[in-house]
């Protein structure tokens, strides 16, 4: 199924499209964030409880301790739970640990990083999105709206898109690999992709792919020689080909 896209009109006449994240990525990010903020709030509760019990008993009378418990223990824990999204989205420019893990980020409708005002509105509307329980209103809104947004996003003018920042980081690496290997960029990308996925692929499948790619990249190596290489040797040959442009045939 084709993803919905957000088209951004560039000021130079070159336009780009960002893939809009689906309900699955959104929910995955939320669940991770929910666990993190719950654990953080609980960790604070336990830590503060221990501190107040250990240090507080020695320093203050019991009545003062119970007040201290309210201020030091409960209030910050509630703060962590309630302001987790807002604070992290501001600090991490539209991301949270959960969103980063799910490979998504928040953007405005012109592709920019949302400001404090927009993020504030987006998070205020969690009050409605979370109604009546388990974000039923928000999820329903995601299912029925064209761009898979919840009401908070509609109000704030934000969208959850697939984060392509990780892709940008490979750019310089690809450039240097093309320069060193002397291979065509498409072939370099193919080898790079295969090396990235090496561990997750089935041994037979990755060896087959490695031989096919090496046959294209290393025309000097006869097919019979490639067929004789084992899994570790194929991996080494691919790495060599990418890094130095030479292969050690020894």
């Amino acid at each position: 199924m084709d993803r919905e896209q957000l088209r951004i009109s560039g000021l130079t006449g070159v336009d780009v499209a960002l893939d809009i994240a689906g309900v699955g990525s959104r929910s995955y990010a939320f669940i991770i964030d929910w666990h993190i903020r719950l654990l953080l709030a609980l960790a604070w509760l336990c830590g503060a409880w221990l501190l107040v019990r250990i240090i507080g008993v020695a320093l203050w009378p019991p009545a003062a301790n119970s007040r201290l418990l309210g201020i030091v223990e409960v209030a910050p824990a509630i703060g962590i739970y309630l302001f987790y999204h807002l604070v992290l989205e501001v600090l991490m420019r539209g991301r949270t640990p959960g969103k980063r893990r799910a490979g998504v980020r928040l953007v405005t409708r012109n592709g920019g990083t949302p400001g404090l005002g927009a993020l504030l509105i987006r998070n205020i509307f969690r009050l409605v999105d979370s109604l009546p329980f388990f974000y039923v209103v928000g999820l329903t809104s995601c299912f029925i709206t064209e761009q898979r947004v919840r009401i908070g996003d509609l109000a704030a003018g934000t969208l959850l898109v697939v984060d392509s920042d990780a892709a940008a980081k490979t750019l310089a690496q690809l450039g240097s690999m093309v320069a060193h290997s002397g291979l065509a960029p498409a072939l370099v990308e193919l080898i790079h992709d295969l090396l990235e996925r090496w561990e997750s692929l089935d041994t037979g499948k990755r060896d087959e792919l490695a031989r096919a790619i090496l046959a294209r990249a290393d025309t000097a190596s006869p097919t019979a020689q490639l067929a004789a290489l084992n899994d570790a040797q194929l991996l080494q040959r691919l790495q060599q080909r990418l890094q130095s442009g030479r292969t050690d045939h020894a």
């Binding site: 780009v16 309210g70 990083t113 205020i124 409605v128 704030a156 690809l174 450039g175 960029p185 992709d193």
Partner: protein, 326 residues
């Protein structure tokens, strides 16, 4: 030259500059001088050229996707308004919030009327059917009033004023936010929350009146009530504006209309939040304190209400309401 060779030569020639761009994109740009800003714009133009070339030579490749990501980042850093926190804050307080409040004025008045009508209905309801008080008050509250004690008495014995304040102000802020957000249900949610609060207020006054302690209740609410109730009407009016933006869109689509209205009226909500902090402090420190006289409470209550008017009209921040003469 075949396509692969051309692509290789091009990638080789550009790889160093891409590395530099990538490093630059990772650093946050805060206060840029003119020269640096100019370099950002040049980088954006160069990125557009490289992206167009990459789309031609390496369609669907990872390099093209990476250049697109860099281009989007550069676009976002250029296509935004200038940041000046102090000036933005002053404009918000002096111009934006007053403008929103002025536009909401008729709705605020209507909601004020609804609040009073609901309070009157609540009074009538409990005066006529006293048993219905169980709908709006807890057993403990009813028991206290029946013994001639307000539930607010001894509030400071249970928790210190600071904690009472925080609890009250956070509760009030949540109610106001809810009155605002509930406006999404075509404004009906905002009406409901305003009406239910008015009904409860009237009912509690009627109930305490039956036991002769309504004066005590008035004394309790006098210092914080005027602003608290006004803020509720403002938050409700902001919510109603949201609902109206869906019923009568002011933009080509309902989504745009809703978004525009939400970001506009949310400014009034910010003012409500700030005013409610003051209300919470008064309600925590002054209202439950039996040593504060009625006159002092009245002065604080109406003084704070006057402060609210100055704040919402922008006069507190130097706004001149008289039109400029040419």
């Amino acid at each position: 030259m075949n396509a692969d060779t051309e692509a290789s030569a091009w990638v080789k020639s550009r790889s160093r500059i891409w590395g530099e761009w990538l490093a630059q994109s990772q650093t946050r740009a805060h206060r840029l001088d003119v020269e640096t800003a100019q370099r950002h714009i040049e980088r954006y133009r160069a990125l557009a050229r490289d992206l167009a070339t990459a789309r031609r030579l390496l369609p669907g490749s990872r390099a093209t996707a990476a250049l697109e990501a860099l281009y989007v980042g550069a676009h976002a850093s250029i296509d935004r308004s200038a940041r000046n926190t102090a000036a933005t804050l002053l404009r918000l307080l002096r111009d934006d919030i007053p403008a929103v409040v002025v536009s909401l004025r008729p709705t605020i008045l209507w909601l004020g009327l609804l609040l009073f009508a609901s309070a009157a209905a609540g009074w009538w309801m409990i005066s006529t059917y006293p048993d219905l008080i169980t709908l709006v008050a807890s057993e403990k509250m009813i028991d206290g009033v029946e013994h001639g004690r307000l539930w607010t008495e001894g509030m400071l014995n249970v928790a210190p004023a600071s904690i009472v304040s925080v609890r009250i102000l956070s509760n009030n802020i949540v109610v106001s936010l809810f009155a605002f957000c509930a406006g999404i249900f075509f404004g009906l949610g905002a009406f409901y929350i305003t009406a239910i609060n008015g009904l409860m207020l009237g009912a509690m006054f009627a109930f305490t009146h039956q036991f002769g302690i309504d004066g005590e209740l008035l004394k309790f609410v006098l210092a914080h009530g005027p602003v608290e109730l006004s803020v509720m009407c403002i938050a409700g009016a902001a919510g109603t504006a949201l609902g109206e933006s869906l019923i009568r869109p002011s933009a080509p689509t309902r989504r745009e209309s809703f978004q525009r209205e939400a970001s506009r009226v949310a400014r009034a909500l910010l003012a409500c939040g700030l005013l409610l902090i003051g209300c919470g402090l008064i309600e925590g420190f002054i209202s439950p304190n039996p040593t504060v006289s009625l006159a002092t409470r009245a002065i604080i209550g109406f003084g704070y209400w006057g402060f609210m008017l100055l704040f919402l009209s922008g006069r507190l921040f130097g706004r001149n309401l008289r039109p400029k003469t040419v």
